[in-house]
């Protein structure tokens, strides 16, 4: 009996030791040395509560975001902070759980007394957090969780979105696919079966009917998120002989799908578009299917403007890797807060929200503005075709397209229509 107790204690002890070690990895462990000559901050620091999901498929994305945020905060503090106040970053983990996300958000607001929030990764967690921080009147910038529900169905004034939402992203990708394959009429879709995938595909259906009125959707596949065996989905789709396939698969699932579909000659036979962003192309290496279309949210090969490339240099020096779009968006999120606070000349939430509405930011992804009605950023959506490039040891895109957010977002009238149904008053 005593031995058993010892063992159980041992197991608990090991997990207790292991957990902080893992967190230390995610947190500032490898933080580079701060600039020596720190300008004196006369007042209390401004606190930014950064809350992402260090679990499952979100883990790597969250780590990238934290890196982007830290680089932005270091730059800002090296130049004297915001309104002469230092910017402090406090990191929290939602474990990709709705209840933990709500609890940690509350803790950040009540105990740490943060002025602003940034995050999370999971759309589901984001919606749960929104209820909490809206109640306490704290503004959150979402840079990754991109369900349209945050700004449309369940809008509150305490949210600002700087990642293309599910609607914009799918509309833009559908237009690109239509431009590349105007004769395609019969479609199949494959998307992860949860909030994100369902919303992307319903936007695809809406747009494809607008663009190709006599189009037909033959078959829709809904693999569970985290699925690693798509063989049966692939043969089922190919049996329908579609003209093109729209997908919102991403990350490891897309890697698995791509490897399993290639031997069937899927990519030679069927035009296909999915979230082929940097991490997926890195993982696939030589297996990335050239000529297949991808969409993404803005990293260096999608938008190689000088400001972006400067960020890439800095990021590579600090982190030893290429930054993906998650780092880019999180970085832009910090600068958006800075711009709004400087415009408002205060950190008071109401004043900052007012300053946010209509504000324009010269970001890593070019200029965008925040639509006053629903606080959606006119952030660009990117598409391209996978191709080799001698400059990089991995495949990137060619035939890049950058569609500004205000060309693809839901119209103001459309937003109001949804609000009528969901009871948002504004």
């Amino acid at each position: 009996m005593r031995r058993l107790v010892t063992i159980i204690l041992l197991v608990f002890a090991v997990s207790l030791i292991a957990a902080p070690m893992v967190m230390a990895q995610a947190k500032p462990a490898k933080e580079p040395a701060k600039p020596a000559a720190k300008p004196a901050a006369p007042k209390d620091p401004i606190k930014l509560g950064v809350i992402y999901c260090f679990a499952g498929p979100c883990y790597m994305l969250s780590e990238s975001a934290i890196n982007g945020i830290r680089i932005a905060a270091e730059e800002i503090n090296a130049k004297g902070g915001i309104l002469g106040r230092k910017l402090d970053v406090i990191v929290r983990d939602t474990e990709m759980k709705v209840d933990v996300g709500a609890r940690e958000t509350k803790d950040l607001m009540l105990r740490e007394k943060v002025n602003f929030l940034e995050g999370p990764c999971s759309s589901g967690v984001g919606l749960a957090m929104q209820v909490v921080h809206s109640e306490y009147k704290i503004l959150r910038v979402t840079t990754m969780a991109n369900t349209e529900a945050q700004v449309v169905d369940k809008f509150t004034p305490y949210i600002v979105q700087v990642v293309p939402n599910t609607y914009m992203e799918a509309i833009a990708a559908t237009r690109y696919m239509n431009k590349k394959y105007p004769a395609a009429k019969k479609f199949c879709t494959i998307a992860p079966d949860y909030e994100f995938g369902r919303r992307e595909e319903s936007a695809f259906e809406e747009e494809v009917k607008r663009l190709v009125p006599d189009s037909e959707i033959l078959y829709q596949a809904w693999p569970k998120p985290g699925e690693k065996d798509f063989t049966a989905f692939i043969t089922a789709i190919m049996a329908k002989k579609p003209d093109a396939v729209h997908s919102s698969l991403f990350g490891g699932d897309l890697v698995a799908f791509t490897k399993q579909a290639a031997p069937y000659g899927f990519f030679e036979k069927t035009p296909f578009i999915a979230l082929y962003d940097l991490p997926v192309l890195l993982a696939l290496g030589a297996d990335a299917p050239e000529g297949t279309m991808g969409f993404g949210r803005g990293c260096f090969f999608m938008d190689p403007n000088p400001k972006m490339m400067q960020f890439v240099e800095k990021y590579r020096k600090v982190r030893g890797a290429y930054p993906d779009s998650w780092a880019v968006q999180a970085y832009d999120g910090v600068y958006l807060i800075k711009a709004a606070v400087e415009k408002a000349k205060t950190v008071e939430t109401d004043a900052v929200i007012k300053a946010m509405e209509g504000i324009s930011l010269d970001s890593l992804r070019g200029k965008f503005f925040i639509r006053p009605l629903d606080h959606m950023g006119s952030v660009p959506c990117y598409q391209g075709v996978i191709a080799k490039d001698p400059q990089y040891p991995f495949k990137i895109w060619k035939d890049n397209s950058r569609i500004p957010g205000d060309q693809v977002w839901r119209s103001e009238a459309g937003v109001r229509e949804v609000w009528k149904k969901t009871g948002v008053v504004r």
Binding site: R3, L4, I7, I8, L10, V11, F12, V14, S15, A18, A19, M21, V22, Q25, F54, A55, G56, P57, Y59, M60, E63, D193, Y219, Q220, A221, W222, K224, G226, E227, K228, D229, F230, T231, A232, F233, I234, T235, A236, M238, A239, G251, G252, D253, V255, A256, K259, Q260, P263, Y264, G265, P279, A283, L284, G285, A286, D287
Partner: protein, 293 residues
């Protein structure tokens, strides 16, 4: 619906069943002899995949590198199996199932965090190795040759386990121990030693399956829970601890899923668990299982 379409869907189901069998056979073997439901079996599978990736990346030998890495990965997981059996499971055999489940679930959490710590939660990919990189024509329709490789490994494992359990002296002892461990012990056979090696064999099978799964799909956090849930369905349908049952369960789950996807994709996953529920009602101990004493 033409023949080639149905045949292709059938082959997709067989490939999925083969991968499920690889993982479920180890789970079933451990349960059959040790009477421990090892919740961490899927985690050993996941860790095996990550370890195989790192060995493959380190070796960087063309063509054979992957096969060597898979074997080494399986051996490393066998080593982990020794530690796990000696320090944890050995102390739990006499305890109830709730405690066994809790303890093995603790291992799930530990391994998940270990993977995060060691590999940073990235998703990784091993390209399909030669000569299984392309496809072969089957009734004029391409069929990925790596899927054949997975099926071959699955068949080889069936034959090996059948030979081990039914045709060797060790197999006699294993079956006897599964039936009545006190009696076997009374005959002078060192049960703890036997249990350690059975668990190590199970862990090695899990490690091997993880290695094989690397080129099949992607290596990522979460692949442990994804597979273990379906493996539970397999062993419940086929019968806990039964080799033929696990084989049949894998084929049923693979086919039900594959044709479910074709006809009613929204319910494909639900169909599996409907079959499981029906089996539980009609034969609670599974198709080939034995009722608990």
């Amino acid at each position: 619906m033409s023949f080639d379409v149905l045949f292709n869907q059938f082959m997709s189901g067989i490939a999925r069943g083969a991968l499920l069998f690889l993982v479920a056979s180890g789970l079933s073997l451990t349960f059959g002899v040790l009477r421990v439901l090892n919740f961490a079996h899927g985690s050993i599978y996941m860790l095996g995949a990550f370890v195989t990736y790192s060995i493959w990346k380190y070796l960087l030998i063309p063509v054979v590198g992957f096969y060597i890495a898979t074997i080494l990965g399986a051996l490393v997981m066998g080593g982990l199996g020794i530690l796990m059996e000696f320090f944890l499971l050995r102390r739990l055999y006499a305890r109830g199932w709730p405690e066994q489940l809790l303890a093995t679930y603790a291992v799930v959490l530990i391994i998940t965090d270990l993977v995060k710590w060691g590999w940073g939660g990235e998703f990784l990919s091993i390209p399909r190795p030669k000569p299984f990189a392309g496809a072969i024509a089957l009734f004029g329709f391409p069929f990925p040759s790596y899927n054949f490789f997975v099926i071959i490994i699955g068949v080889a494992l069936v034959v090996f386990l059948w030979w081990l359990v039914y045709r060797t002296r060790l197999g006699d002892i294993i079956r006897a121990a599964a039936h009545d461990r006190e009696m076997v012990s009374a005959l002078g056979i060192p049960i703890p030693w036997l249990f350690t090696w059975i668990f190590v064999l199970g862990a090695m099978i899990a490690g091997l399956s993880g290695g094989v799964a690397g080129p099949y799909g992607a290596i990522a956090l979460g692949m442990d829970i994804e597979i273990i849930v379906e493996c539970f369905a397999v062993v419940v349908i086929g019968g806990m601890g039964s080799l033929p049952g696990t084989l049949l369960g894998s084929i049923i789950v693979g086919q039900v899923y594959s044709f479910g996807i074709m006809y009613k994709p929204e319910l494909a996953l639900a169909f599996i668990f409907m079959v499981m529920a029906v089996v539980l009602i009609i034969r609670p101990w599974g198709i080939f299982g034995r009722p608990e004493r």
